[in-house]
């Protein structure tokens, strides 16, 4: 049996510790992510979806349990160190790119994700033809705007760029935090299709938070539901394919 890529064992994250308002956002959560999994993550507000991502990414220190990457404990490692295997796309298009830097400069930054950044010239010009090709594949005009500051792009273009940046240097684990939620339906669909295509082609291991039940059913090989800081539902393969939105609605009613 192959070793799982990432394992979360009894992970606890609390807020307002040592106060009467203490709350366990992640309550002894267990999750095993296998190599090549494309997992859609559902859950109501406050279920702990974003906290789960922040715990994996290292933005939040965990108060108990273990996070293991290929059997190696990583829960004490800094955010910066974890970027060697991990990349993220945030919900807010503003968070994913540097607004005063150009599209090409952003791509160059992303290509060095988790690597040493030294005092050698960045050599941006040499990369431009390749970046033009990469962005042209997004079909949203980004290739025409390589030298535009990303602050001047539309939200859709920015988010597509954020996604491209997250996958440019292949991550072992990709975290998508409702990355299409802030976009209009058409742009959102386009990015979702692109995401699926990229994940399949590159055989990426990916977690995707979404509030769209249909997206959660359409995409990925596995679906989990978070509730009160625990994984309450976990289906994959044929079982997931047989799942319908009606069944999911019923399930949500049951757990509320």
């Amino acid at each position: 049996m192959t070793e799982p890529l990432l394992q979360l064992k009894n992970v606890v994250v609390k807020v307002n510790r040592h106060t009467p308002e203490e709350l366990q956002i992640l309550n002894h959560l267990n999750l095993t992510i296998n190599q090549g999994d494309f997992i859609t993550v559902l859950g109501s507000n406050g279920a702990g979806k974003s906290t789960l991502f922040n715990a994996i990414g290292g933005d939040l220190a965990i108060d108990g349990g273990q996070i293991k990457l290929r059997g190696q404990e990583i829960s004490r490692e800094s955010v910066e160190k974890r970027t060697r295997f991990l990349s993220r796309v945030f919900q807010d298009p503003k968070l994913g790119t540097a607004p005063r830097m150009t599209v090409a400069e952003n791509l160059l930054l992303a290509e060095k994700r988790g690597q040493h950044r030294g005092l050698l010239p960045r050599q941006l010009k040499r990369q431009l033809p390749r970046y033009r090709e990469l962005t042209a594949a997004m079909h949203n005009g980004l290739d025409e705007r390589l030298n535009t500051a990303t602050g001047n792009l539309s939200g859709g273009q920015r988010q597509a760029l954020s996604f491209l940046m997250a996958t440019l240097e292949r991550p072992e684990l990709l975290l998508l935090d409702e990355h299409t939620a802030a976009l209009d339906p058409k742009t959102s669909d386009a990015l979702m299709t692109l995401t699926n295509q990229r994940v399949q082609e590159e055989k990426l291991t990916c977690l995707m938070i979404t509030h769209h039940l249909e997206d959660a059913l359409t995409y990925g090989n596995r679906l989990i539901v978070l509730h009160h800081g625990q994984v309450t539902y976990d289906v994959s393969g044929a079982e997931k394919q047989a799942l319908t939105t009606e069944r999911l609605y019923e399930f949500f009613k049951e757990i509320e």
Partner: protein, 299 residues
Amino acid sequence: MNMMVSAIGQGLLWAVLGVGLFLTFRILDFADMTVEGTFPLGAAICAAAINAGLSPLTATLLAFVVGSLAGLITGLLYTKGHIPILLAGILMMTACYSINLRIMGRANVSLMGKPTLFKNTFLQSLPQYFDSVFVGTAVMVVVTAIVIYFLQTSLGQGFIATGDNQTMARSLGINTDNMKMMGLMISNGLIAFGGALVAQNNGYADVNMGIGIIVIALASIIIGEVAFGDLTLNQRLVAVTLGSILYRFVLLIVLKLGFNANDLNLLSAIVLALCMMLPVFKQSFNLKHVLKRGLDTND
């Protein structure tokens, strides 16, 4: 004519402060008050070192090193101590005052009769004030070139990204705390270096010479931006030097109008405030223009 040359010379000598502050104010996007302490710190270190017999060049470079250490402390207070940057800067600025007095032993140390960067036979042979023009130009060419090179390296790009979007920078593995500390170190190193230059040019170091420094440095940045408009990052760095010279001309005009040197800090503050409000003025002006046009067509 002499006044003009003097203004250009002073503008060039002080321009290094603008470039130093640019790294924190424009790139990291915060105002670092430490500079009010590191400018006299650089002057004090340089004066003390020269009086102790060190060569002027060594003394000037030493000022850079000590200045960057002061920047490092501000950076540690800010990133590791979680003290807001404005307060961290003010703490260091205040601490520097006592340190500067300790270094100099008194409030004012003269460099009369001592060797300085300006006292060599070549510079002395130049017409009056051309020595500062020469030294200032040489310094700014070298400093600007180094900073421009640095910002185009992989490390420099990570530094810019930190100021631009911290969340993104961290998610790409950039250690943003280190970047901020590095920025504060280079910035304050350059400001202290400027302090050393000015002290040697003036012939003394004074514990109070740091008052209003941040306004002067900001003025070079802002005037440069207002005067030259939309520029690339590299061009903006060059514009800082030109802004610093323009600022000296503004002071020259103000003095010609009959104000005296004691009024300079007030006038500097007013000039800077006006320049910084220019975008607001422009906007309201444009608005009026558009409104008026709208009325005209209705008539």
